[in-house]
Structures are given as C-alpha cells and as structure tokens.
C-alpha cells in the first residue's frame, strides 16, 4: 500500500491543484466554462504574488461525467500529488472520486455537483460550495405550488444527481399537498422523446420537472412543445446552460423554468468578472463560472490561513472559513461542510434569454 | 440378417413429395446401392437415415434401434457414418485433424481432463491419433497427413471423407456418389477400397452412384427409386435389364 500518504509534498516553486471536470462529452460546454473561470482565478492569484510564496498550478483530469473514468482520473491526480482538488460537476462522477481523495488525504472543494449523497458520505475533507439538491427541489416545488400546479411529472436520467433531485422533488411536492402523477427515467443519450411526451400529454400535468442535464433537456423541451404537452416545463441546474435554449430553439424555450443559483450576470458586483471573462474567452460566463472561480479563491485563502499545504492544517483552515466573500456568495460551512445558506432561485427564459424570475 | 430397415418412409417439402412410401432393407455385411434419376430422392433418403432431415412419416431402424427423431450426432454414435455428395470437409484443418473428428463419439474426456492433463486424457489422445493415422493409411492418403484439406486434389478429398467416416467406427457406411469425378483407373482403386472396407472392417456399405460400371462390379443389391418411389429392386443383372429402369434412368445408349 503505497499511494495512501499524500498532501503537502509539493516541492519547488509551485503548488499543484487538481481539477476534476468533464472537459469532454455531453457536459463539456459547462465543464470547459468552469475550467476557464478557474484559470482566471489562478492567473489573478499568481499575478498578486501567489500563495505561500509559490505559484498555483492546475492539473486537469477529465471525468467525462462517468463514474469509472472519474475514479481513474482521481487516481491520476492522487499520483500527481496534488495539494487539493477543485471541481466536480456531475455528482455521479464526483461521488466515487471524492472517496478516492478522502482515502488519499486530499481535500476537495466541490464547485457544482450537489447531490445530497455527497455530504452524506461524511467525509470531513469534502467541502461543497453549491447549494444542495434538497433546497433546489424545494425551490422548484414551491414555485409550482405558488402557481397552483398540483399535478407534477418528474423525469430523471438515472444519474446520481438527477435521481436525487427527482426523489427530493417528489418529497417536496407531496409536502406541499401536490401529487406526483408520473415519475419517469430516460436514458441520457436519447434523442426521441415522442412517446414519452405522448404519455405526458395523456397524464395532463400542471408541471413537468426534468432533473437531468441540458443535452437531453434541450431535445426534450423541443418535443414537449411540439407535442403540445400542457403545463410548465422546469429543469434543474444540470440543465442550466445557454445550450438548452439553442437546442430547443428560442421559440420553444420561451417560458422555460430553471432552478439554479444565479450566474454571474445576475449578481450585483460581478460586472468586472463578467467583463474580464468575456474579453478573455469571447464568451459569456456560464452558470458555474462564478462558483468555480470562488472555489479556487477559497482554496488560496485557506492555504494562506493554514500557512501550509499539509492536509490537516488545510482541512482545518477550510472548515474554519468564516465570511469568505466570493462572487455572489458568502461562504461558511455547516456541520456537514455544506453551505450554511443556499441561494436557489427560479430563472425563466424570456425572448431567448435567462432572466431572474423569483 | 438385415442391418438397416426402412419402412414406408415419406418426405415432403411443402407441396413436393421427395420420397414416397419407400421401404427397403440392407443386409449385414453387404455392399448395396440406391440408384435412380437425378432428383429422385436418393440423397434425401440418406439425409433422413442420418437424421439431417426429419421424415414426414415412416420408420428407420439400425440393428433394431429406431433412428427417427434422433439427432445426427446420436445416430453416428449408434454406428452410422456418411460422406456427402458435395464434400463437407473441415477445409482449413489438416487431414489428420479432419480424421480425428471421427473419434469424438468414441472417446469421452471432459473439460477437467483437458485442463488437468490427466493420465487417462493423455492416453486417450494417443489412441485418437493412432486410429486416425490408421484410417488415413487405409484409404491411402498418408502423404497428405499434414496438409489442409482444402488444398488436396479433389480425389484425395473424397478419400479423406471416407477416412473420416471410418474413424467413427461405423456399422453402416453411407457413400453419396463416391465415384463422381474419378477416371477409370481411380474408380478401380475406389472399388478395391470399398471391398476392403467391407472385408477387413466388416462394415456394411450402402451407396448412391450414377456410374453403372462401378455398380455392376461391386453392388450386391440395388434399390432403384424414381420420383421418390421404389421402381425396382434386386441384383445388378435383374435391375439393369429392367425395362422401367432403362426407360427412366439408363437410357438406350451405352455411354460407359
């Protein structure tokens, strides 16, 4: 048993930070966007003199949103002796990867993935800076309830996150006195949702909540509209991406609802970040840019406070974070290393653009 | 005493009746033949006897055991072997490996024996090789032992098929047109071979042939069928002078 001791072994003038993201595959748009934001943070930190007199350096491993690829990727980061890991987009791949990091004594800051199973593992070195699925589910269910939508259909894609979100959504809908009249699973590579939409139509729902990712979400939305299925169509933050609008087509995307933490565009005070991102990458920042940027900055801050890259010290520093001000959020951790307060909102597509609905 | 009894055999393909109420017997230790026009149903009879076609009705018995509804492999194990009208060798395997296949039903090593290389397994392998070589020698293709079957001259392939059939240690050997494509000299060799099979191994031979020269020389008993029905039966002299047979099958001219 060799590779179980790690952490703090960075020699030379660099501190190696692991990044675990889907930079290929169906979720690559969001994955690359998160990576961009992290690189921005690193550049800024290094320009300001680095951390502990050293420069930060990112070591990227692709998890392709597949649990097993993620395990291999995590092992690779462990063998590169990274000090900590930032990243984690899909819960399904973040779950097994977090176990690998935990066993190797490497702290991980999860910037996007938010299945409630993640904190439930009880790893004290795993920190989540996105709001959690149960809160998200409640936000969605409450919105339906406010609009008088009682009969709800839930659709997931069997991934850890989507299933988790659908399960909690069911709970919240029922707590609100609504009824889940359909609970469906799709397979994420699917293109044709014709007969699923026929089924939905026959159920006559007041609202449909798709909890999977945007590649399937966009196609589903389009076919939802074509079939003329009644009621609201809502998606979770896994489908929060401009791509969902372009896939479905602007006219079909109108009135689409999203449960998510708002992007930088909606955050007062984030204008500078948005501008810099745009000029640098010729793109608008994506849904998880701010969180990713925050993740790296939080790590840098913790390293400074710990005055060491050593595991225990770093873990403690992260745990002791108090009032860390990132873009659009103030980070403090609860008992389970999750955000003490989450910040889910309802976004709505109007004229082909996401707007803040509630 | 009869080794093979075929009784009221019938075979139908959709609307076509290929074999119709056919009955005949084959005596133990005889060399017998079935002749008849092309498409008369001769090969079909072979296919039913060996289990490849299921008869529409009728009975087939080998040494008193019914063969109907048995798989070809079972029938072979019971003591029947055959060759095919259009050669069916294992084309990419050596002559030796081809002939070894015949010994499969006479040996019984299992997966475990093979994995553990037990003593009895090794002995059995030696026996298989021995028998196979003996059969190869017997038909006279020793010099081809290690060649792939498909690269043998056509005639040698015919003999290989016979060797392979002999390796199953049959009581009854069925040959489907063994002389097709052989010249006069080669036919004489084949005649000797068939006689030796009967005399040295005590194997009964039943063959289908269109070569009347060969039939005259070695066949002791002939069954003639036409349109699936038996039209004549008896010794070569009787049958070959039968008017019906001449009209349906032999023709007036002597082409042989």
């Amino acid at each position: 048993s060799s590779d179980s001791s790690s952490g703090g072994k960075n020699s030379g003038s660099e501190i190696l930070v692991g990044v675990l993201l889907p930079v290929t595959g169906n979720n690559a748009t969001d994955g690359k966007d998160m990576l961009n934001a992290m690189e921005m943070a690193v550049e800024k930190i290094n320009n300001d003199g680095g951390v502990l007199d050293k420069k930060l350096k990112l070591e990227v491993a692709d998890d392709a949103c597949d649990p097993q690829t993620a395990t291999a990727a995590a092992n690779k980061l462990v063998s590169k002796k990274v000090v900590a890991v930032v990243g984690g987009y899909c819960s399904g791949s973040t779950l097994p990867a977090s176990g690998v990091f935990h066993n190797a004594n490497i702290p991980m800051i999860v910037a996007a993935a938010n299945s409630s199973e993640l904190p439930e593992q009880g790893y004290d070195s795993l920190f989540l800076i996105n709001g959690l699925v149960p809160d998200q589910a409640k936000t969605g269910a409450d919105y339906f309830n406010d609009k008088g939508a009682k009969n709800i259909v839930l659709i997931h894609d069997n991934s850890a996150y989507a299933k988790n979100l659908a399960d909690f959504a069911q709970k919240s809908v029922e707590e609100n006195g609504g009824k889940v009249i359909g609970f469906e699973a799709i397979n994420p590579e699917e293109k044709d949702f014709g007969s699923l939409m026929t089924k939905l139509k026959s159920l006559n729902p007041d609202g449909t909540y798709f909890t999977g990712y945007y590649a399937a979400g966009g196609l589903m939305l389009k076919q939802f509209k074509e079939k003329g299925v009644p009621g609201f169509f809502m998606v979770g933050d896994g489908s929060y991406s401009p791509d969902i609008i372009s896939i479905a087509g602007a006219e079909n995307a109108n009135d689409l609802l999203v449960t998510a933490t708002p992007t930088a565009n909606f955050i007062p005070g984030a204008e500078a970040f948005v501008e810099e991102y745009k000029s640098k990458y010729d793109l608008s920042p994506g849904p998880f840019s701010a969180l990713s940027n925050n993740g790296v900055n939080l790590l840098a801050d913790a390293l400074k406070r710990a005055e060491s890259t050593e595991f225990e010290a770093l873990k403690k520093a992260l745990k002791d974070t108090k009032g860390f001000e990132g873009i659009g959020q103030v980070i403090e951790f609860s008992e389970q290393n999750t955000l003490s307060q989450s910040n889910f909102h309802i976004m709505k597509v109007v004229n082909g653009e996401f707007t803040l609905e509630k | 005493m009869s080794l093979l009894t075929v009784n009221q055999l019938k075979l139908q393909f959709g609307g076509l009746i290929a074999v119709n109420d056919l009955s005949f017997t084959v005596e133990k230790n005889s060399i017998s033949s079935i002749i008849g026009p092309n498409g008369a149903g001769k090969t079909s009879v072979f296919n039913m006897i060996t289990g490849f076609y299921r008869p529409t009705s009728g009975a087939i018995e080998l040494d008193g055991i019914s063969l109907v509804n048995r798989k070809p492999s079972q029938i072979t194990t019971l003591g029947m072997a055959r060759t095919f009208q259009n050669l069916r060798l294992f084309p990419n395997l050596t002559v030796l490996d081809n002939v070894k296949s015949g010994m499969h039903c006479r040996t019984k090593q299992t997966v475990w024996g093979a994995l553990l290389r037990t003593k009895s397994q090794r002995e059995e392998e030696r026996l298989i090789e021995e028998v196979a070589l003996e059969c190869i020698d017997f038909v006279g293709i020793r010099k081809y032992t290690k060649r792939a079957a498909k690269n043998l001259p056509y005639g040698a392939q015919r003999y290989l098929e016979i060797a392979r059939a002999l390796a199953t240690r049959p009581k009854l050997l069925l040959l489907d047109e063994p002389a097709a494509g052989l010249n006069y000299e080669e036919k004489q060799y084949l005649i000797q071979l068939i006689r030796r099979i009967r005399d040295e191994y005590n194997i009964t031979v039943l063959m289908i042939e269109h070569d009347m020269g060969l039939i005259k020389q070695i066949s002791e008993q002939i069954t003639v069928i036409d349109y699936g029905c038996k039209i004549a039966e008896g010794s070569p002299e009787e049958v070959l002078n039968n008017e019906k047979v001449i009209e349906a099958y032999l023709g007036k001219e002597d082409v042989i």
């Binding site: - | 009208q85 052989l182 099958y249």
Partner: protein, 238 residues
C-alpha cells in the same frame, strides 16, 4: 488456318503450387476439343486461366489473335468465351429464370434475346420449365447441371468451355447432355470439354489433349487417342 484460341507456354500457380507448367493448347473454330487428365492434373485450372479467374504467371493466351492475359473475366465473357465451371455453381437463392437472365448479363439490353434464350433452354431441358420459378438451390444435382449449361448458353458463346458436365448425372441425362453438346457445336459453337467420362468425350471430340501434373503429355486426334494404350488403361478401361 489460324487458331481461335491459342495458349503458349502458360504457367499458373496457386500460391506456391505450380498447377500449370508451360501449357500449349490450340483450338480451331468449329472444333470440339477434349481435355483429359486424372484428378488434380490441372484441367480445371486451364479453364480458369483462360477465363481469367486466375492470372497466369507467364505465357500468352491469344483469342482471335489478341492477347487476353490480364483482361478481367467479365470482358472475356463479353468477347464470347464462356466457362461453365466445375461443380455447377448455379445461384442457389435465385430462381431458374433469374439464373438464366444472369447468364445473359452481357445482353442485358436485349430483351428479345433473353426471352428467346429462356425458351430455347426450356426446349433443351423440359425439366427446367416445370420448375422455372423454383429456387435453384433446391434442385437436384442433375437439374442443377442442366441449369448451369443453359445459363452458359444464354451468353451466346463463340467458345464454350465445359468442366465435367456429366458429373453426378444419371446415365440417361449424360446421353442427353452429350447429344446437346454435339447439337450446340453443330450450330457453330466451338467447344472445349473436360470430361471424366472419356469414352463419351472421345466419341464427341475431334481432338484431345492429355494433361498430367500440369503438363500436356499427349495431343492428337480423337481416333488416335481412342486407340492409345495409356489412355485405354487409365481412362477407357479394357
């Protein structure tokens, strides 16, 4: 007179097996030429080489005075050489009529020829007519051979090469086929015939070649060959 087909020092191989060794054959218009030889002597290989299914390593094959070595088989067929291969090789999944139509592939634009050809075939072999819509694969051996010959004739051969047409056929059919070969020849088609039934072949043929292990060892008129001791012993029987 110039030969219709002339093979000069032809050598053919299967991989490293030397199947034809400096073969020389001449065929004149209107003849029937028999090719005799024991098993594996190279008879079929000779036909395959002429029809370009295998390409000779060296030597010349002249057809009407033009070298045809290296010309693809379908062009050879177009030029009037038709090879009816050993083992019939009819298209088992096609009906009798479809088989015949393919035989006339080079005349595919000539609907009339095809129609007449099919009728001619049925006149030659009434048995085929009975089964015209049957899949060829379910025919008996003899029926298949009849089909193979008629299919070859559909291509209107100047030279027809037959590889053991009597193999596996009932005596009465063999007589029939020999008669038909004669008839075809009388109508002007030159014929190269491989036949194990040497008696019948030498009765039909004008001339014959004897091939042994890839070499032509004898060639002469049919009368002479019929009286030759060696031929009698190996091919005709006493």
């Amino acid at each position: 007179m110039k030969p219709l087909l002339k093979l000069t020092d032809v050598n053919s191989y299967y991989g490293k097996i030397h199947a034809l060794n400096n073969i020389n054959i001449e065929i004149y218009e209107g003849e029937i030429v028999a090719l005799l030889g024991s098993n594996g002597a190279g008879k079929s290989t000779t036909l395959k080489t002429i029809s370009s299914i295998i390409r000779p390593k060296s030597g010349q094959i002249e057809w009407n005075g033009k070298n045809i070595v290296g010309v693809p088989p379908h062009k050879i067929v177009e030029s009037g050489i038709i090879h009816i291969p050993e083992g019939r090789r009819i298209f088992s999944g096609l009906t009798i009529i479809e088989n015949l139509e393919l035989g006339a592939f080079t005349f595919r634009k000539d609907k009339k020829w095809i129609k007449e050809g099919i009728e001619r075939s049925f006149d030659l072999f009434p048995r085929l007519k009975e089964r015209s819509k049957q899949l060829a694969g379910t025919l008996s051996g003899g029926e298949q051979q009849m089909l193979a010959i008629s299919r070859g004739l559909m291509g209107n051969p100047k030279l027809l090469m037959l590889d053991e047409p009597s193999m596996g056929l009932a005596p009465i059919i063999v007589q029939e086929i020999m008669r038909i070969i004669k008839e075809i020849n009388e109508q002007g088609t030159t014929i190269l015939l491989i036949e194990q039934n040497a008696k019948a072949a030498l009765r039909l043929a004008n001339r014959g070649y004897l091939i042994e292990i890839g070499n032509i060892v004898m060639h002469d008129s049919a009368e002479v060959l019929r009286e030759d001791d060696k031929i009698i012993k190996a091919y005709l029987g006493a």
